[in-house]
Symmetry: C2
């Protein structure tokens, strides 16, 4: 059959449905709206049902340009992350996506690559697209420029993964995570401890390190400054840093590496130094990525609730968009103990 008044690309518009139903477009608009207020202003239940039926039949889908133009809302949530090829951020993003979609929003994600210029440019792009709000997954330092810009501008936003200053954020309680790691290593009897901290601009690495050192101090174990080294959040970074630590005159017997990939690198460095991971040197990572349990020597790691972090971040952002009061959230991590810190437990691992 041929439909009346299709748009340029052959898709039905409100008017198509209206003519088919014999009513005015405004009636169709109201009937198809899911806001109850618009709905009650519209016609009888019978008419509404009929309109919806026809709309479904012809496959009508509201044109977001028309709708966005009129309402100045896009139903779009911008998401800025360092990079999606990092499984941690990709998992957080999946949480954001799930939650946003369930609430009628779509997500628009961009990679900021932890480069200030790129981040700025990408954020600009999101704003130019008129997103309704922004999830910032890559805050830098405690006075993040972008967060400040957004706050000043009044665009709703929420930080996740990393936090920054007093802005609303949904993160893992990394301080607690660091504490868990320290308690574990200390309970195992280690006193020669080291930390492979992350990039200085990421609150994650800073907090994890701080928590770790807190517990050490509380228990009277000193971690000298030269045993705390900064490294990139990847395999190479971890290997380099751990290699240097292990090559020092008094090498550590317990290492906390604030990122699993870096921890994998650290394990490599240990092996290269002729040490057996788990017995000669205990290594604890962070995030508990799926791979951690599958390594030749399974990695002890602080498990952060990545997916849930994304879910809650999106929820919080939407609350902010709706004008509801919001506050920061710190989700608790747990420790997954494996052989990289305890040594081989059961040789019968299939």
């Amino acid at each position: 059959m041929s439909l009346p008044h299709l748009d340029r690309s052959g898709r039905p518009t409100l008017r198509t449905v209206a003519e088919l139903a014999g009513v005015h477009v405004s009636t169709v608009s109201r009937a198809l709206s899911d806001s109850p207020s618009a709905n009650e202003r519209s016609g009888s239940q019978r008419t509404i049902a009929r309109i919806r039926e026809i709309a479904a039949e012809v496959g009508f889908e509201r044109n977001p340009h028309g709708s966005g133009l009129r309402t100045s809302r896009s139903s779009l949530l911008g998401v800025l992350v360092p990079r999606l090829s990092d499984v941690v951020l990709a998992t957080i993003y999946e949480g954001i996506e799930d939650s946003a979609r369930a609430r009628g929003y779509q997500t628009f994600v961009v990679n900021g690559r932890d480069e200030p210029a790129i981040r700025r440019e990408r954020l600009q792009m999101l704003l130019a697209r008129r997103v309704d709000g922004i999830v910032l997954g890559d805050a830098h330092g405690d006075a993040d420029e972008l967060a400040a810009t957004l706050a000043e501008r009044g665009t709703p936003f929420v930080l996740t993964n990393r936090h920054s200053a007093a802005h609303v954020s949904v993160t893992c309680d990394d301080l607690l995570g660091g504490r868990l790691a320290a308690e574990h290593l200390l309970d195992l009897g280690h006193t020669a401890l080291a930390v492979v901290a992350g990039e200085p601009y990421a609150s994650t690495g800073r907090d994890r390190t701080a928590g770790f050192l807190q517990v050490c101090a509380e228990r009277g174990v000193e971690v000298p400054p030269e045993r705390i080294v900064h490294a990139q959040f990847d395999v190479d970074g971890g290997r380099g840093a751990a290699g240097a630590l292990l090559a020092s005159p008094a090498p550590p017997t317990g290492m906390f590496v604030v990122n699993d990939f870096a921890a994998i690198g650290a394990m490599g460095a240990a092996r290269a130094a002729g040490l057996t991971v788990g017995t000669d040197v205990a290594i604890v990572g962070y995030n508990d990525i799926p791979l951690a349990s599958q390594l030749p020597v399974p990695l002890t790691s602080v498990a952060s609730p990545m997916h849930e972090m994304g879910v809650r971040a999106a929820e919080t952002l939407i609350a902010a968009i709706d004008g509801r009061p919001v506050e920061s959230l710190r989700l608790p991590p747990t420790l997954s103990v494996r052989e990289s810190s305890t040594g081989v437990l059961e040789p019968t691992t299939l």
Copy 2:
């Protein structure tokens, strides 16, 4: 300073700039257009320069809703992938993003999770958003429903990563990749070979396996059917499949695992079986993810040009959108030889 005629959210519009410049909005629109045809119809070079200056000064950014409504183009490329937390797809996506952005498009990515219902729904969403074209990174089988839908509907699209039927695609030459793996293992003298193939619906796994078997046949080495097992593209899948192979009465000495994560699982299974990877059993993976070279036993892997695949896919899609003729592209992989197949070469790995 207070600007004339801002929009509801306080942002400058064409009219803001027009009033500031003392010209009509249409003149501003043309002056700011980057299409040369519109440009020449617009005013003098002096006027154009002045308008651009004012626009930059007040931070004007074209409202995509208004523009999209008028032109029925969104400058948006939809991207459908199985999941972004898979580093292979995430890397391809980064290529798409880089290339699209350089050509004035933004990308809108969604996860289809390899579930038909979800894929359909996500595609629907992209179309509802009026994307200008679609990159399909998750084609299923040789008669992919979504690809067929798009073709019928006339929406420009291109497949990548996986191909399907006669649709235009930009992929890795996986057949060649499989051949490289076979040649390598045969050159090393192995004759008891096995393949951990992927999910049957993915062309990647099918082609890789087929190429591998081609070379085996050419060289007169038989790979019995029970030595070809299907598994998921992840660590668990690889471990299970390889474990079964190695536990058989006549275990293989050379294994081709069509995905690096699965290969990592296979290495685990080998170790669990008391075998030394690289000497007792040679393992070759696929994709050469960054982690491959960093494993305790570095993994020999067929390197696929993931980023370039994304770049070329986006280029191809944009060509199709512009109505230029396009054709499929098969990018050649290379082999990265490491210890997982050759045994430990140099004990002096730092």
